[in-house]
Symmetry: C2
Subunit: 118 residues, 2 copies
Amino acid sequence: MSLDPAIADRLKRTADGLVPVIAQQYDTGEVLMLAWMNDEALARTLSTGRATYWSRSRQEMWAKGDTSGHVQWVKDARLDCDGDTILLQVDQVGAACHTGDRTCFDAAVLPLAGGTSA
Amino acid sequence: MSLDPAIADRLKRTADGLVPVIAQQYDTGEVLMLAWMNDEALARTLSTGRATYWSRSRQEMWAKGDTSGHVQWVKDARLDCDGDTILLQVDQVGAACHTGDRTCFDAAVLPLAGGTSA
């Protein structure tokens, strides 16, 4: 499956041909995870309505939920101002994180020193 | 300024020593932008409470808002499950995007084919 050339022309990819993708729960606004897509993963995502990523560790395409059942149904997809990041609004089935947490950011808070605002 | 070794040990960086950072408006949930930090930028962010990034294009540290006034005050900072992405909850002054848009994702919607949910 190949990506619409009009979209492909606007993408700015890393040296290994990937674009970072932020997945956000469409109704609550929770940021669920960050993953990566190559052109084919983006084409599949847009045509199937199901978030499909490129696994850098396994070096393979990965339709999220294939083994876990934790599918992401895509409600909206956007490119950022300089074409190097994608934001997906999704409806996440079950947990987004492989640990079983709802999001990948539930576990590790980084300490801020003192007050945070003027 | 150096990063707390307990945090530095948990970071998984790209080949050029960077970690992607998602900035989200803390009260509305809007995803504002994605930028990058090296260890020093993260140390400065945590100690000053003001989002500070590494500019890949300019190859320099960049406290957001230095020239535009569009500062990000950090309310919360989290590392993801595998230590390779940071999520900041911020209070964004003015526009997050250099185009003047509120977020970097306001301009370019990608077309989804057909229905998006089961």
